[in-house]
Amino acid sequence: MIKNISNLGDAAVYCDFGSEVNESINANVIDYFNHLSKLIKEKKIEGITNLTPSYNKLIISFDLTITNYKKIKNLIEGLIIHKDIKNNNQKIKIPVCCDDEYALDIIRLIAKLNINKDQILELYFNKEYFCYMTGFIAGMPFLGDLNKDIRCDRLETPRVKMPKGSVGITEQFANIYTFESPGGWNIIGNTPKKIFDDKNLNQPALVNPGDKVSFYQITKEEYLNWNE
């Protein structure tokens, strides 16, 4: 259920499903996302340009020359959502090299978390994660939940350039920078694996919401010789 609907500027609707992050709230967001995507595809709604689901929010962008906040809000309030029963979720394994030259923020994490590098990595690799959403940059997965002992805030000032393939953590989440981009997550390593493929027009993102992801450590040599 949507707890509150408000406007994000004059050309987007902000649907708030709650403040917690868990799989059940996220499933609710995805149900609305799937339902609206279907209506857009069948041309039953006019003017919506983008839907952005996240952990517990759904943002609906629209073309202000065609529709407006009030019309979209009324539409959302009138929707009857059927639970999405189909489940195509996959299990994905992703290699990560944690050599010091790739683990850009390991020193910061050691200082903030008060545990050593080996302990941080052990807790990180020893878990299967759930994909809540993809976004920020093309195909970047937002995964959870990290072990409580390795949770840390974002960088105070985001990096202007985060190297492609950087594997980061922040709060209870893990992610992968699929392209070089600005970013504020704590980087613990880098993956040589292709996480986004724009030549695959139907399914460009390797990881999609609902998938399960685990990471495994590789050496620098394996990293440099990675072949797909």
């Binding site: 500027g9 050309a11 987007a12 996240s54 962008s61 920020f136 937002f142 600005p182 986004f196």
Partner: protein
């Protein structure tokens, strides 16, 4: 017959192909892209009798030096731009924006620089010979999507043109005055109440400087530090063009067309749709002020802005 094309003799700072942008991909992390200044983009197409959704060349600061090969075309440039046309007999003409020109074989367009703005647009009659990716011609250099392998143009690249031979010359003009304003109108963001009363006062009363950290993704500002009294992080959630995020260091960032699709910094405000063309054009070193408007006011301002754009389009002949 050989196709007409522009040969790039100087690439310029950030020369790409743009159009209205690419929709319905935010959920996998692909932003809208598209021309930063949608009004000037539209006007450039109108000046060469194109459909208003045709692809154009967008450039920033120093533009490209282009040589036309194998053809004769109509082109127009919009924005606040200093450019020259170098004819194949080496005669040089000063270029005028918002006016269509004929360009012959081996003639060159030298886009020297933008003046009091960041972006300009070059449209050719019939458009460019390019393919759409996910419904748009726009180059997204962050995800390498679109023409030219999703990269900005470099020296010696070629940009092919659909119509190689123009039979009737287009003579069109728009009397458009580019007059940038320093007041940016915003609607309160979804985390407006994360900031102290003192910070909110400063946010609306003091100047913010556009720093050198400006690109198609966003604009980093410097001004009074915006003090967050609730939480400097939120759970990552969707962003749209115009959102003003405030990271823990207190320096706001405004999202532009190639922005990240989600973000985890609190949103103090959102620039209204009608001011997005303007904010994207402001240059580093400019001082701006934020002014709050209601949703209703914003919708009325947008309506007036659209009518104004239509007025220019209708005047074009």
């Amino acid at each position: 017959m050989n196709k007409a094309y522009f040969e790039i003799l100087r690439a310029g700072v950030n020369t790409t192909i743009q159009d209205k942008g690419r929709n319905h991909l935010y959920h996998i992390g692909i932003s809208v892209s598209g021309a930063i200044d949608q009004r000037n983009y539209t006007l450039s197409n109108k000046l060469v009798e194109n459909q208003l959704t045709e692809a154009v060349i967008e450039f920033a600061y120093q533009g490209p030096l282009l040589k036309l090969k194998n053809g004769k075309i109509n082109f127009a440039i919009s924005g606040d731009i200093l450019f020259k046309i170098i004819r194949n007999n080496l005669e040089v003409e000063d270029g005028e924006c918002y006016k269509s020109y004929i360009l012959g074989d081996d003639d060159q367009i030298d886009i020297i620089s933008t003046k009091n703005s960041t972006y300009g647009y070059l449209a050719v009659n019939g458009g460019f010979h390019l393919e759409k990716t996910w419904g748009s011609y726009s180059i997204n250099t962050k995800a390498n999507i679109g023409p030219n392998d999703g990269k900005k143009y470099s020296l010696s690249d070629k940009i092919f043109i659909k119509k190689s031979d123009t039979k009737n010359s287009i003579k069109r003009k728009i009397n458009y005055n580019y007059s940038p304003d320093n007041i940016i109108r915003i609607i309160k963001g979804t985390n407006f109440d994360y900031f102290s009363k003192d910070t909110i006062d400063k946010f609306f009363k003091e100047d913010f400087l556009i720093t050198n950290l400006v690109d198609r993704m966003g604009i980093r500002l410097k001004g009074p530090k915006l003090k967050n009294i609730v939480n400097t992080n939120i759970k990552s959630e969707g962003l749209v063009r115009g959102v003003i995020q405030v990271p823990a260091d207190g320096n706001p960032i405004i999202m532009l067309s190639d922005h990240g699709t989600v973000g985890g910094y609190p949103k103090i405000g959102v620039v209204i749709a009608a001011d997005l063309d303007l904010i994207g054009q402001l240059t580093p070193g400019t001082k701006i002020n934020f002014k709050e408007v209601s949703l209703e006011e914003a919708q009325n301002i947008f309506k007036a802005y659209t009518e104004d754009t239509n007025k220019y389009l209708n005047e074009c002949n």
